[in-house]
């Protein structure tokens, strides 16, 4: 959960023309740097929405098991000094095994899985660890360019102790042949950052 200004090259730029929508959506004027003393606002003192028992097990949120390869996604949340971040809220969302999101805006004609909603959340423990049980998502097509397919990925959203440590990212699976054709992954210029091991 590093400050992005300290991570030149390992965070994507706002404008990356191969990712077409950024040409209309990325702000064209420079961001205005806020001094830290003016941007401190803690996470809600009452905490986040209460977690449900199956929130971190996406295979147990329905009356039956979802289709696809069951996997464990686990890791740690670390700060800029590699110290564990405890009590961070992690949310994830993903497509099902066929590459279809359970979302009204997804019109990819792959089948919906009635037993897979594709969203989960958890809170890191004292050592910054988290764990989800889910199924491996499928690749899916999108309209960015001819024959564009997103490599299989899981979206992550993290909340630390304030809105300054908000983080939104994506997780990929090792050695996907689609990596070189994916402008979202390629928008991170630093090759080591793209491949940074857990």
């Amino acid at each position: 959960m590093k400050d992005r200004s300290a991570m030149a090259g390992s965070q994507p730029p706002l404008l990356y023309p191969p990712y077409r929508s950024t040409t209309r959506w990325a702000p064209s004027k420079p961001l205005i740097r806020l001094p830290e003393t003016l941007s401190e606002l803690d996470a809600p003192v009452y905490g986040w929405w209460p977690l449900g028992e199956a929130d971190n097990d996406l295979t147990r949120q329905s009356s039956d098991e979802p289709q696809g390869q069951r996997i464990i996604v686990a890791g740690r949340v670390l700060d800029e000094a590699a110290r564990p971040v405890a009590s961070a809220l992690i949310e994830l969302w993903q497509a099902n095994a066929a590459g279809r999101y359970c979302h009204a805006k997804d019109d990819h004609p792959a089948p919906l899985d009635p037993h897979f909603a594709g969203a989960g959340r958890t809170i890191t423990d004292a050592e910054g660890r988290y764990e989800f049980i889910t199924i491996k998502p499928g690749a899916y097509p999108w309209r960015n360019h001819d024959n564009a397919w997103r490599p299989a990925h899981i979206h992550f959203s993290l909340f630390g102790s304030s809105f300054r440590t908000r983080l939104v990212t994506q997780m990929y699976f090792p050695d996907d042949p689609l990596f070189d054709y994916d402008p979202i992954l390629q928008s991170v210029h630093d090759e080591r950052a793209r491949r940074r091991p857990p």
């Binding site: 950024t22 702000p27 959203s157 809105f163």
Partner: protein
């Protein structure tokens, strides 16, 4: 949807998000972080087909401004969307607030762009405020590196 607030005047805060072509952004997520005078409040809503979303919240209090001064009442906003490589931070201030002139953050913003950070009262209903988020263009909203 900003829940669990304790004090402050109830308001409706309505967002409308448009892109560089003036098109409505219909699948953005707007997150709101503010104080209600006592504690931190968080809310989150998706924009709909009309590019808008509307929070029931409270008008925030003034907060400390770092070097002894005060910041004008404001709401911190985080904007996420498919099509944005990073989320964006902005702030909603309230038009006509006398504290705006002393606000240390507005002072960092070029004068001709400050108006992009103002919510305006809706003409038809008291307590409803309208805030436009323009991702690009002549009246592009000011975004912050926090």
């Amino acid at each position: 949807m900003a829940d669990r607030f304790v004090g402050g005047e109830p308001i409706t805060l309505s967002f409308r998000v448009t892109d560089g072509d003036g098109q409505l952004v219909t699948d953005a997520i707007v997150e709101l972080w503010q104080t209600d005078g006592t504690s931190s409040v968080f809310g989150r809503l998706p924009t709909g087909e009309d590019g808008t979303c509307e929070f029931e919240t409270v008008r925030p209090a003034t907060v400390a401004g770092g070097s002894g001064g005060l910041q004008a009442p404001h709401v911190n906003v985080c904007l996420l969307a498919r099509g944005l490589l990073r989320h964006l931070h902005t702030r909603v201030y309230f038009a006509g607030d006398p504290a705006l002139a002393q606000d240390p953050v507005l002072a960092l913003v070029p004068e001709d762009r400050r108006s992009t950070l103002l919510a305006h009262p809706a003409p038809e209903r008291q307590g409803r405020w309208l805030f436009d988020v323009r991702l690009q263009g002549a009246k592009e909203t000011v975004f912050f590196d926090v």
